[in-house]
């Protein structure tokens, strides 16, 4: 935990790891990967930060309020995306059937609701990993 080299290497690498995780989440529908894999990468970046720099500084990066909010509203975000179909007069979680413009094939904005749902699921998975890790780390002696 007090290792100088480990801290410097983590400080160099972790931003890129997080950027890569966000990239995998956002490009889940146009490239290999997906929201689950990207969410795991983002969550593991925070977990690596916490294991290297200690629990206090890790908690400062991701406060408990943030993880609680994301935990609670991640699934609700998915449900809200599903309700878009209902408000447009189509079944729950409908995408093309609801008349949403699917965009150009291969573009980042393609797929209608799929990108938004994937973003929600990715952030949700990252928050799940972080919450599980912090809850197990914070065990009072």
């Amino acid at each position: 935990m007090r290792d100088f080299i480990l801290k410097r290497v983590a400080a160099l690498l972790l931003p890129f790891i997080q950027m890569y995780g966000l990239y995998v989440i956002l490009h889940g529908h146009v490239s290999p990967g997906g929201s689950f894999a990207g969410g795991i990468v983002v969550g593991l970046a925070f977990i690596a930060f916490t294991t290297i720099y200690g629990l206090e500084r890790g908690r400062a990066k991701v406060p408990e309020k943030v993880t609680t909010l994301v935990e609670s509203y991640g699934t609700l975000w998915y449900g809200m995306m599903g309700m878009v179909g209902v408000f447009k007069g189509a079944p729950f979680l409908a995408n093309k059937m609801a008349g949403i413009d699917l965009g150009e094939l291969g573009a980042l904005s393609s797929g209608g609701l799929i990108g938004l749902i994937g973003l929600g699921v990715g952030i949700r998975v990252a928050s799940t990993m972080i919450t599980l890790f912090f809850t197990m780390m914070e065990e009072e002696p």
């Binding site: 490239s31 990967g33 935990e71 699934t75 393609s110 797929g111 699921v121 949700r124 799940t128 914070e138």
Partner: protein
Amino acid sequence: MKLRTLPILFILLLAAYVVLVAVAELPPYGMSGNPVQNQVSEGYIENAWEETGVLNMITAIVLDYRAYDTMFETIVLFTAVLAVIITLKTTEKEGGGK
């Protein structure tokens, strides 16, 4: 005790024989005429691009065709986190906190 193991052994061997016969009847893996290669996968491969507008077919299935499944998968994650928090989280109100 020794006498009781014999019928059990016989029943187990019989069950193993039945299972092995059933496995031997399976079609070879990856053949084009298998029942797995039915119109469902063909439908996905041919229509996924037009129906979802997404290049990654896995994402098309996970987040569009099987969107209900993924939604309850996130609820499974939520339940797992809830169980861990209920089991491990120590309340800071009683005991004075940090």
